[in-house]
Symmetry: C2
Subunit: 189 residues, 2 copies
């Protein structure tokens, strides 16, 4: 389980086995059942999560009471509300397991301490955040620019494995459709 994180570190920076043994205790390992929350709106956000197996979704409850998903994190992806995590404040988001999911979680204070002790991991997180931020800018362009149908086809083209893995109502929640509208698009395609 932590082996997944070890491999992911080594895709970006060189972390030796003996170093990793000192890194592991900074994390808490947690198994989430499908639909279990690891973060809830209205609570303080003090953990950053690495999905080592399974899939997480980050969503909020919109003004009309519907769940609106803004991100998924499958294996090797990090997920938290970074502003609330950084500032130790209350979050507006939920993070929930889409399927049975294994996460490694680290508190803000422990992450800062870990980075002081292993500065090479600054590069790792810099790269992870640089990529995630870049993707979010590109995602905003799609949301603004594409028609609803184009957003759907772009999503299944870019993330075919994720699209197969997710239930239809979650794809609808992510793309801002009703499940009925998504069915219509799929029938037309």
């Amino acid at each position: 389980m932590s082996n997944q994180l070890f491999k992911h570190f080594n895709q970006i920076v060189e972390v030796h086995e003996h170093e990793f043994q000192k890194i592991v205790p900074f994390f808490d390992s947690c198994h989430l059942s499908k639909k279990e929350n690891i973060l809830e709106a209205g609570k303080k956000c003090h953990l950053n999560h690495f999905a080592s197996a399974g899939c997480l979704q980050m969503f909020f409850i919109s003004g009309d009471g519907t769940e609106r998903t803004i991100r998924f994190a499958t294996e090797n992806r990090w997920m938290t509300d970074y502003l609330a995590f950084q500032n130790g404040t209350i979050t507006d988001f939920y993070i929930q397991a889409v399927e049975d999911t294994q996460v490694l979680s680290i508190t803000y204070d422990k992450q800062e301490k870990l980075l002081t002790l292993f500065p090479k991991l600054e590069k790792y997180f810099r790269f992870v955040y640089q990529t995630s931020y870049g993707k979010s800018l590109t995602m905003m362009k799609y949301l603004y620019d594409f028609s609803k149908e184009d957003i759907y086809f772009h999503f299944i083209e870019q993330s075919p494995e994720l699209a197969k893995r997710l239930p239809q109502y979650l794809i609808a929640s992510f793309l801002g459709f009703t499940p009925e509208y998504l069915s219509k698009i799929k029938k037309r395609s």
Copy 2:
């Protein structure tokens, strides 16, 4: 001009004057006149820009030919298309000066070399990206959840100085309104 970057580094990590003298040559300094582009869609994106004075906007041309702004960068903010910057690929975005603007620009290769020579700057960029990524997640929530009017009032409440500084058509381009719609909201308020 580079003094602004020196101060900003030192808000996050400790960089000494003698170190900064070795850092400065990694950057090219550039003055942009109002409406001048420093990045254009269809071209390779190989530079990351620090706004030391003035204001930049990042936008794309949407399918219907309108400019759609996704971010502004005033003093102390970094701006590029991070995915294209990281991958050395062609961008879909423009970066343009909103007013006379002074930028310090660094190529991808030079930034990587700089971070190898001064690993403490990994922490600086990790923090910058962590914050930017956190803000983009929160921005997505507003875009999904808020009514157009609420988006406008939230923007002027959160960024009163920027709202005063920007021409109305750019605020409209950022919030996804027509300039006429923005005028209507302002009259009603």
